[in-house]
Symmetry: C2
Subunit: 434 residues, 2 copies
């Protein structure tokens, strides 16, 4: 960066959607304040868009807009690239090239950082710049900087998080209103909380990217999102929430990472949580992350996990930090290293408690056969409750809670239960956490 | 610092009590890991104690111990001083001298930083070093670094916190067990959660230091602890918790700071909070801080607010950060500035809702006189509930909730009520927040 004019920090903004418009607007509206904080003006020099004529939530001078990424990447006067396009391609290629050309990068892109983080962090280090990505997880909630700095004295042992606002909103409505999944999803879509194609959210992929990032930071390793076990929320029934509540639990889509002697276990799935735990009380589109370390016990961070302005809050904090690094000619400020190569354990190795809902004939001897199946698979039943009986087809619904058991055994038992003539339907199967 | 040997970072530790012992033990036990993170070993070179022969929770080689502060302050090989002595004097003088002599400082001292922060931050800047103090508020919960960095894009509007574990434990027990203050205090003392002289905690002084620090950071100003209005919890009665619960509230010792156009309002007092708010659910010795900004809405940080290891977590995070600054020859890394000179508004300017418990004769006409007093002072009553009647002395207890009113008016009304012949006793008076 030597020799360049640093009397102002020139920014190339890539993407002018919901987040990009917020960033552009706030950088403009608060320009004086940020200049005071940094000591130099932060100047928006160019904004990359797909369509020059599309109406936007922010008014920018026409000459700032471009459809050509080269006008940012080839411009030596651009010190800093903000990437808020989303999606893997071409965002990954742009971020990579920006770093290789000695530009600092601030990105909100969870997919790019989860899949390509190690390569991009290495590229930044070699080019003596930085890539910061606070906005990629948890919107406005500080999570990445705390893991990289404030909690660094700890050996972290677990991360448990509600980090997808769309699914938490849907689950909150299913629980509160007694709605089924489809109705709750439709409402979430009508309110703009869910995409027209909600797959990434409801199948747990979005949460898998985010927990891969948090687990990598917490455990100083690299967890690739492909190694994150994930299950979505589409198969939950309204009555599961009722049964869970009767047992003293809430149902949440949890993203979890645990450190053990043998590696890390990283997973996303709906789970029962005791209703007196803080995570059970996180409602609507809010996010919360609970971090456990050897020194500090548990800390909980909670706040708005998405939205234009909360995400802008995180992006601009990174921008101010980077601007300071540019001015002082430093990089790779944070000491965090991700060089422990910890294996990611398969879900079959998990040991936890389980909730299982089964539909069976309402007659004697049925429970003995089911209990026998559990017993043969070394699973100890903690309680069985007969919930509802349907007189017309003479069936009953059983809710079974197990003691701590091995997932591999539980999966084998589920397959065997499905084959038992007395099991009409294997309903919802959920892990119990905490 | 130029010319000095930086192949290792030499630390002078001042104070070897509960926190100091934790810091010394963890720096020793995790020396290899921290050396990997920093790139150089962190070496404990000297520890200042009052009594060389006192038994301690940590085993240190005898030659490391000294009773002479000069052996740390005069030692040019000490790069970094950790001050965990507590109390204003002589900690303030030691921190000041260390900075003036070009040593970086990490301190856990809320009193010193609340009273002398601006002078010490200036001294650090002039000497091209830093003074970090994450451990001074909220134990292991990251609060100061997030305010200095992660939330910097926001104009913060409020801080609401439970930041004194002793009083939160006492209030939790009073609420859960129906105990009076004295009994709950005795139990807290027996468990080591309260000091033999609990004044600083139960009168709200400790919380006043901490909210002064948080308010200064959030609003880029300096709030002196003398300007923080504070009320303690000693006058609360067990039945206030019962009445509050019936009305849907919890009672907590809240530390609050709010930004208005005219300045800041900073205060510590017990308050009613709606029981569905996150702060109402923070129990026992836990701390929680809720920050509101213009971009990110609300974020909540929750965790262990005290204790040897959580505090060590914060101290060592600062130490690692400072070690990196020393190695790279940088200082004053964080862009945060406290140069807005905002006036602190008197409590008389506050507008909020109020809870008041009165003992009155159980007869007709009483309420009219009380309501008249409120009316003359421009206070609108929201509800009056007659709680208990005592047949023997023919008195009744009234719980009055007001609409939003000016504190000055409320205080005048309280003085006038105390003079009314029909008021036997002005019981608990509490502000209602949220």
């Amino acid at each position: 960066m030597g020799g360049r004019d640093l009397s102002r920090i020139n920014i190339g903004l890539m993407g002018l959607g919901v987040v990009g418009s917020g960033v552009a607007r706030i950088l403009t509206e608060k320009a004086d304040w940020y200049a005071t904080q940094v000591g130099r003006p932060l100047v928006l020099r160019r904004a990359l868009v797909r369509d020059l004529n599309k109406p936007r939530q922010v008014e920018l001078p026409r000459e700032l807009l471009t459809t050509d990424p080269r006008e940012i990447l080839d411009d030596d006067e651009v010190h800093l690239v903000i990437e808020v396009m989303g999606g893997e391609h071409p965002a990954y290629e742009y971020v990579r090239e920006a770093l290789l050309r000695g530009k600092y990068v601030v990105t909100a892109n969870k997919e790019v950082m989860a899949k390509h983080g190690p390569e991009l962090l290495d590229a930044a280090r070699e080019a003596h710049v930085d890539v910061l990505y606070e906005a990629s997880v948890g919107g406005g909630i500080p999570l990445i900087a705390p893991l990289k700095r404030d909690l660094l004295a700890n050996a972290m042992t677990s991360v448990r998080a509600i980090i997808n606002g769309t699914t938490n909103y849907i689950l909150t409505q299913m629980s509160r209103e007694g709605w089924d999944f489809d109705r709750a999803l439709q409402q979430a879509q009508a309110l703009g909380y869910a995409e027209p194609d909600p797959t990434n959210d409801v199948e747990g992929l979005d949460a898998a990217y985010k927990i891969a990032l948090l687990a990598s930071l917490a455990f100083h390793t690299h967890v690739h999102p492909d190694d994150v076990y994930h299950e979505g929320i589409t198969r939950l029934a309204a009555r599961d929430f009722r049964y869970a509540r009767e047992l003293g639990y809430a149902i949440k889509l949890l993203a979890m990472a645990e450190r053990s002697n043998h590696g890390v276990q990283v997973r996303v799935h709906p789970a029962l949580i005791p209703e007196d735990q803080p995570l059970a009380k996180v409602e609507g589109v809010y996010n919360a992350v609970e971090l456990t370390g050897d020194l500090l016990d548990r800390v909980l961070f909670q706040g708005p996990g998405a939205g234009s302005l909360p995400t802008t809050s995180a992006v601009v904090a990174d921008v101010i930090d980077v601007a300071l690094s540019i001015i002082r000619g430093v990089s790779d400020r944070l000491t965090w290293r991700g060089d422990l190569m910890l294996p990611v354990r398969p879900i079959a190795d998990l040991t936890t408690r389980y909730y299982l809902r089964l539909v069976v004939p309402d007659r004697a001897g049925v429970l003995a056969q089911i209990a026998g199946c559990f017993g043969r698979n070394e699973i100890s039943i903690a309680s069985v409750i007969q919930k509802e009986t349907h007189e017309e087809d003479q069936t009953a619904e059983l809710v079974i809670m197990t003691h701590r058991s091995l997932e591999a055994n539980m999966q084998r038992a589920l397959r065997q239960l499905a084959e038992l003539p007395v099991v009409r339907e294997v309903g919802t199967f959920l892990r119990v956490e905490g």
